[in-house]
């Protein structure tokens, strides 16, 4: 799964730490998601999209490889 959290953060001028606080997770978690190291839960994905005032699909996108695993 691809995400453009980093881009959205830049647009909204929010740091990783601030985003972490807004969605009530640790900074490591936001960092791991941005780096594509961790597939987050649906709830957290919805929260992040909500913070950026976007729909889920604008922030997160399936990749071809997601259909294989």
């Amino acid at each position: 799964m691809k995400n453009n959290i980093k881009v959205e953060r830049a647009k909204n001028n929010i740091t990783q730490a601030q985003l972490a606080e807004l969605v009530k997770v640790s900074r490591q978690t936001i960092n791991a998601i941005e780096l594509g190291k961790y597939n987050l839960s649906t709830i957290l994905a919805l929260k992040i999209a909500h913070v950026f005032n976007q729909s889920l699909h604008d922030v997160f996108e399936l990749e071809e490889s997601d259909w294989r695993s």
């Binding site: 009530k24 791991a32 961790y38 987050l40 957290l44």
Partner: protein
Amino acid sequence: MKTNYLLPNRFKKIGWFLFIPGIILGILYLIYEPQPEFLNATVFAIAESLFEFSFIKNNVYDEITALLIIIGAIFIAFSREKSEDEYISRIRLDSLVWATYVNYIVVILAIIFVYDFGFYWVILLNMFTILIFFIIRYNWALLKSRKQIQNEE
């Protein structure tokens, strides 16, 4: 996401206060097998032979040591982080699976290559190693994820 079965964060500190003295007593036990007089006690034994209940005389040094290590290690291993969240749960699970594999690889190697009294010592230490392997792997993984943040800045 709710993580079940974890202890409150403050248990981590209590865990270290039990675990460190336990490890020191444990190392002394491996070297000297001390049996301090004041720890001689009459204990209730369920199984001198199985289900024959009796009271026997025993030095409780090794019992106290084992309990300190096990209870301490469980407190350290399974206390909630200050910022416990779904990613940390994931690290926790990965580390637990890893520790179980490593622990039983050691047991399997010991079954094949270690005999007699040596095997007894391996199994004795094996009571503690799964928790210790977990604590090392889990904290190492946490540290790595924290380091990654610093690199990002």
